[in-house]
Symmetry: C2
Subunit: 199 residues, 2 copies
């Protein structure tokens, strides 16, 4: 027996396909959209189509952009001999917030994760190797997440880069600024000790 | 400084307007939609417009439907002299699942809740009074939620119905079937005692 009107059920099904949205939440969202004025519902639908139509990856760094080449790759003030490799577009934003990095980026769009069926050819490693092969890159900073998969991906890529005569570095491990030693885990603390620097 | 392409930001903003979706989740959903094939993104956008275009409230019971009159109001097997008043369309589905009720429904689309700026004229009480005023209704069952606002709404409506010579009833309170007394709260238990029946 069908309980909801078909179009409402279809909308709820669409919401339920989104990551982290369960059946009940999807239903609630569908009801919410149904309660919106037509103009707002249209704005929502248009935003989906617009994003799909105008946003694509930068052919240089693979970051998302709506221009031919993204604004960072296009910026003449940036040091193009220094590439920071991150897993996701949102990581570029985090790095930019630090206002410390003056080089350019390379976005992998994922990390190697065999458990989730993501292998080396599924992320944009090939494009990175091509950039480095051009010979103008001085240093590649691996800035994938400091978790198991991020580490493994950084290791894998750095091994591929080794024969290319480019300096490969990794973000420093240590205790977060403003945190308390009491709450730092053992591995972080031991890494912070290993990486201690003279003051 | 703008970090994301405008169209992506706009899509994330649209998601963030949905109830219960925060900024980070909205961003994640926007990225997900961006990763969909164009055909699936279009299906999502169309589902929004389709739902808005085809789903409306039944002129009789105010439930959501895509027909002129909803399938329950249209069903000749249903007892139209018995109206079950619920707060939301999803409550109709819960009642139907019980397969016990053979009457028709009236959906209020909310409950009176001054704290949330929902007053008696904001929900479909007027339409219920009009139905009852036609004189063919024998009994009105108040099936709003057994919480403060549901109670208050049921009380308010039953007071309006009193002069109309119609029987007004409320769903029974008591311990849920299959539950354990140990976990029942005191108010539920005392209501279950009050409403005890001979076996």
């Amino acid at each position: 027996m069908q309980y909801f009107p078909a179009a409402l059920q279809e909308l709820a099904d669409q919401f339920a396909r989104l990551p982290g949205i369960g059946g009940k939440t999807a239903q609630r969202l569908a009801f919410h959209v149904l309660g919106l004025p037509m103009s707002e519902a249209e704005a929502f639908a248009n935003a989906i189509i617009e994003a799909k139509n105008t946003v694509h990856t930068c052919p240089v760094c693979q970051n998302l952009t709506d221009r031919e080449i993204c604004h960072i790759c296009n910026d003449d003030m940036r040091d193009r001999s220094l590439i920071c490799v991150v897993a996701e577009p949102k990581d570029v934003i985090s790095m930019e917030r630090a206002r410390e990095f003056s080089g350019v980026y390379h976005v992998l769009h994922g990390v190697i994760s065999p458990l989730n069926h993501v292998y080396q050819d599924d992320i944009r490693i090939k494009e990175l190797l091509q950039r480095v092969a051009q010979g103008t890159v001085r240093e590649v900073i691996m800035a994938t997440n400091p978790d198991t998969e991020g580490e493994a991906t950084a290791m894998y890529i750095s091994r591929l880069l080794r024969p290319m005569e480019v300096k490969v570095t990794r973000l420093a491990y240590g205790v977060p600024v403003g945190s308390q030693l009491e709450y730092a885990d053992e591995i972080t603390l031991s890494r912070a000790l290993e990486g201690r620097q003279e003051i």
